[in-house]
């Protein structure tokens, strides 16, 4: 078998151009586009050899590096007398001795048409983290398979991960074809095998290429475009030719609606106020109407200011500084977007999380979340399930360990601007940071918001909540009464409202039972419905405080997290949690509505205090003990707390 290396021809051509007409070469090079790709494969699939080959063929290896390679090949090489290309790319000393790559390394090479950045990531199981990292910036993935071994568990795992990270272009590189005598049947069987697997996990398309990284078959095409003479049965593109022509993800991003996360506000003097950022999606021109989200104010672009002068247009992938026609509030973390199609903001999401730390995920614990230029505090719920990366089964999970991947709900302490990851990587991908060690412990993909009002944008109004309150001559408040059924919440709230009314205060009492007759009559008593019940009451109460009212609510609201949810909706100092503290046996003894009896007999399910927990407030603003106090005393106590005598 002859050593086929057509690549030499094209590299000689380039060299001739450089020697004869350097300016023509530079002009050509200057107009090259950039493709980032990732190579994935098992330890023995010949991945490093392939990358070494790409670097070698594109003349990215100098003689002194080659000399070091020769001496290293003698010392650690696995290819006998031949040059071991793998040694060229295995970076760290410790790795070289073990003969495996254990981290993400980035390599560069260039051809006549494109410049390439290759993320080289290891194949073995414990390094899912590195693969996900490498895949996050890639436009394309090369999945390497050893022709002698076919599709392995690892092949499937890698394919799953690059698919998860949203890589649209997949290349199945069936390597080491020289070791199976360039047998077509072997290649076809592997492709058929992979096709059925791809269907299974939702990969729509892939390109299969028979190659030999070691010998050079189908790495680059002959000038005639023909495949390697060793694989006359193959009609598709050579690897490099495919890499040179595949569409770059940035191109698709330009077609979407404009978005630019603001990184930094540039204010050199009083006359200039610019918003600096990298455009993630779409294009922008001076005069285009934009909206600053999450606040929702609109303006138009005045100029696209750059060091090289104002631009007429800027597109996704460019770092620019925008000035706006109006003085609008806008700072780091905000997103400037196309006015008529802005992204949503939300604080509850369904996400996929990839865990990257030795210390397992702690559901409920607060982590920093960074998305675009937004940094907020976030908590992750117990995963709904973990995905086994080998079988893709959904497994029950209470947490995620290092390299674990799971689907979980996530909540942030304030709304963040986002897009579904499937739509935008830059506005749908986030990292989680441990608040104590500051390490990056996880990465996540947003699927959708759990909030319903997804596409509604806040309409700024002229009369503000302060105006409403000023007219009523009072400070809006939300008195949130919580306690067991029968503790006396409604009775006491009613007595408090009567007193406030006598004091000429504008009030409204939202009672649990009453609300369930109207606004919330579609809700039952499952945990989900109870959470939604409280959420709606919180939103209604918020609108009423915006209108300047003192709102009283009487709901069992047994869970701390929901009460916290409402607290977070209301401006600081206006949420007053009133804990109506009545021991269970006292409340059960009173049993005004006969509910405890029904619950005890099993007639009522999910009854707080019986078969569903009540989480007592830890830091309620006001606590009234109904065993020691009468209703009148309790009401007087509350009034004294909220309306101190001047």
């Amino acid at each position: 078998m002859t050593d086929h290396s057509p690549t030499q021809d094209s590299s000689f051509q380039t060299e001739a151009l450089i020697a004869e007409d350097i300016d023509a070469y530079l002009d050509q090079h200057q107009h090259k586009s950039l493709l980032r790709f990732i190579t994935c494969g098992s330890v023995d699939d010949g991945k490093s050899t392939l990358i070494g080959r790409l670097l070698f063929d594109s003349k990215m290896i100098f003689e002194d590096q080659l000399a070091a390679l020769h001496s290293d090949s003698q010392k650690h090489g696995t290819q006998g007398e031949e040059i071991d290309f793998a040694l060229l790319v295995d970076g760290l000393a410790a790795e070289r001795e073990q003969g495996i790559t254990i981290d993400v390394a980035y390599r560069f090479f260039t051809t006549e048409k494109r410049k390439f950045i290759v993320a080289d990531t290891p194949g073995h199981e414990q390094y899912t983290r590195n693969m996900v990292t490498g895949a996050s910036t890639a436009d394309l993935a090369v999945i390497l398979v050893d022709a002698r071994k076919g599709i392995l568990e690892q092949t499937k795992r890698h394919s799953f991960l690059v698919h998860l990270l949203g890589i649209k272009h997949l290349v199945l590189a069936v390597n080491k074809m020289d070791l199976v005598d360039y047998d077509q049947a072997t290649f076809d069987a592997i492709v058929a095998d992979y096709t059925s697997f791809a269907d299974e996990i939702g990969i729509e398309r892939f390109t299969a290429i028979p190659i030999s990284g070691f010998k050079g078959d189908n790495i680059t095409a002959a000038p005639s475009g023909a495949a390697s003479p060793n694989t006359p049965w193959y009609n598709g593109p050579a690897l490099i030719d495919h890499l040179e022509t595949v569409e770059i993800a940035n191109f698709a991003a330009q077609a979407r609606s404009f978005r630019m996360p603001v990184q930094w506000v540039n204010r050199p003097n009083l006359d200039f106020r610019g918003f600096a950022g990298l455009i993630t999606d779409g294009a922008i021109k001076p005069g285009d109407p934009v909206r600053v989200v999450p606040a929702g104010k609109t303006s138009t672009v005045k100029s696209i200011a750059t060091f090289d002068g104002d631009l007429d247009e800027a597109v996704a992938g460019q770092s620019v500084t925008l000035t706006l026609a109006d003085e609008v509030d806008c700072s780091r973390g905000d997103v400037i977007a196309l006015a008529e199609d802005p992204p949503e903001a939300s604080d509850q999401f369904e996400t996929t999380i990839v865990w990257m730390s030795d210390e397992a995920l702690k559901p409920g614990r607060a982590y920093w979340l960074k998305l675009g230029s937004q940094m907020v505090s976030a908590t992750v719920a117990e995963p709904k399930y973990e995905i086994c990366v080998n079988t893709f089964e959904h497994l029950a999970a209470k947490t995620l360990e290092l390299n674990g991947i799971g689907v979980a709900e996530l909540r942030t302490d304030k709304p963040i601007v986002f897009e579904a990851y499937a739509k935008s990587r830059q506005l749908g991908g986030f990292i989680l940071i441990d608040k104590f060690t500051n390490a990056t412990v996880g990465a996540g993909l947003i699927h959708f918001s759990l909030r319903r009002a997804q596409n509604v944008h806040w309409q700024p109004t002229t009369i503000t909540r302060d105006d409403h309150a000023a007219l009523k001559n009072q400070k809006p408040l939300l008195l949130w009464f919580t306690g067991l059924s029968g503790s006396g919440k409604s009775t006491i709230a009613n007595a408090v409202e009567q007193r406030l009314n006598l004091m000429n205060r504008h009030t409204f009492l939202l009672d649990g039972d009453n609300v369930r007759h109207g606004l919330n009559k579609d809700l039952g008593f499952t945990e989900t419905d109870r959470i939604e019940n409280i959420r709606r009451v919180g939103e209604v109460a918020k609108l009423m405080t915006d209108a300047g009212l003192i709102v009283l609510t009487a709901f069992i609201s047994p869970f701390r997290v929901e009460r916290q949810l409402v607290r977070d909706m209301i401006p600081d100092g206006e949420f007053v949690e009133v804990f109506v503290d009545t021991p269970l046996e006292v409340a059960e003894q009173r049993d005004v509505k006969g509910l405890y009896k029904k619950a005890r007999s099993g007639e009522l399910k999910n009854f707080t205090g019986i078969d569903s927990p009540y989480e007592e407030p830890e830091n309620a603003e006001i606590r009234v003990n109904t065993v020691e106090m009468t209703v009148e005393q309790a009401a007087d106590h509350i009034i004294a707390q909220i309306m101190p005598l001047k």
């Binding site: 060299e15 450089i18 020697a19 350097i22 070469y25 530079l26 090079h29 200057q30 090259k32 586009s33 950039l34 990215m60 002194d64 590096q65 070091a68 290293d72 790319v89 970076g91 760290l92 000393a93 981290d103 993400v104 390394a105 980035y106 390599r107 560069f108 410049k115 983290r129 590195n130 990292t133 910036t137 191109f251 330009q254 077609a255 990184q263 930094w264 540039n266 204010r267 050199p268 600096a276 990298l278 060091f307 090289d308 597109v315 992938g317 460019q318 770092s319 500084t321 780091r332 998305l371 990587r425 830059q426 991908g429 986030f430 990292i431 940071i433 060690t437 500051n438 390490a439 990056t440």
Partner: protein, 300 residues
């Protein structure tokens, strides 16, 4: 719809990195070696914050054996762009008997470059320092993150790097930790030269060929930049047309014979060359893992 060129994409990425650091770090600084990579970095920094000047000072670690033309270029640039310059230098070199002729290369770079750098970073309390490292330079660099964390003693732990996904950089650091940030990580030597040509960036004239007094020693052509250069017995400086691909301390940096006096021919020579740019540097010689060892000790 517009296909961005690879240089446009690299430029946008570097600018994004500069802005992230300025938004999140408290007291950033840029390591300014005055070489071609530093010149590109400075240009990118000026673009990132335009019309404001770069909101951080430049730190130059001078070994005391720098080319005169390099120092001139530094002072000219600083004045022209109105930059704040801090020069770090080992003031006790003479007393310690450290010089590029008698001191071994490891000890020399430690005493003249690494130690003054660490001292300056600590003294001024810089929590983030931009450096011009590129991943194509060397195998150890290929695996370094854009945001690379250093312990209080400025050491690098290659086994404990933070994953970097998408374009999200985690700049949160522990007390006493500092960050080395490499905004041009993804640029290659060719990209750097091409960008210099395209953007007409002013660089030290030493990169261009010119007749210079030289001696040949251990396979390196050295330029006799001033009269401190210790000539060996029988050594006579010879005038040769030479230029540099990389700049270090003049008695340790090899020049190449060349007639290239403009950008196109420099790039042509670079592309047709058979040696990598670090070949001219005495510091990288020795075992091939040596850069990694140096990085762990705090070398940039």
């Amino acid at each position: 719809m517009r296909q961005l060129t690879h240089l446009e994409r690299l430029e946008a990425e570097s600018i994004h990195i500069f802005r992230e650091v300025v938004a999140e770090a408290e007291n950033p600084v840029m390591l300014y070696s005055v070489g071609k990579d530093s010149s590109v970095m400075l240009h990118l920094a000026r673009k990132a914050f335009y019309p404001s000047p770069p909101p951080f000072p430049m730190l130059h670690v001078a070994s005391g054996w720098d080319f005169k033309a390099l120092l001139d270029h530094r002072d000219k640039t600083v004045a022209e762009y109105n930059l704040e310059l801090i020069v770090a230098q080992n003031e006790d070199a003479e007393e310690q008997g450290v010089n590029p002729f008698d001191t071994g290369s490891a000890l020399y770079s430690q005493a003249q470059l690494t130690d003054p750098l660490k001292k300056a970073l600590t003294k001024h309390g810089f929590d983030a320092a931009f450096g011009g490292g590129r991943r194509d330079e060397e195998k150890a660099r290929a695996k370094e993150r854009v945001f690379s964390f250093r312990t209080a003693s400025h050491r690098w732990d290659p086994k404990n790097q933070r994953p970097e996904l998408w374009n999200l950089y985690n700049a949160k650091k522990n007390k006493d930790e500092s960050i080395r940030v490499f905004p041009i990580s993804n640029w290659t030597e060719l990209d750097i030269w091409q960008y210099i040509a395209l953007e007409k960036i002013d660089i030290v004239p030493l990169y261009m060929s010119s007749p210079r007094p030289t001696v040949e020693r251990d396979g390196l052509i050295l330029v006799v930049d001033d009269d401190r250069f210790r000539l060996e017995d029988g050594e006579e400086p010879v005038e040769r047309s030479v230029r540099f691909r990389t700049l270090g301390c003049y008695p340790l940096t090899g020049a190449t014979e060349s007639d290239a006096t403009d950008m196109s021919t420099i790039i042509q020579e670079m592309l047709l060359a058979t040696g990598s740019e670090r070949q001219g540097r005495a510091i990288d010689k020795g075992q091939s893992a040596s850069m990694e060892d140096k990085k762990q000790e705090g070398y940039f």
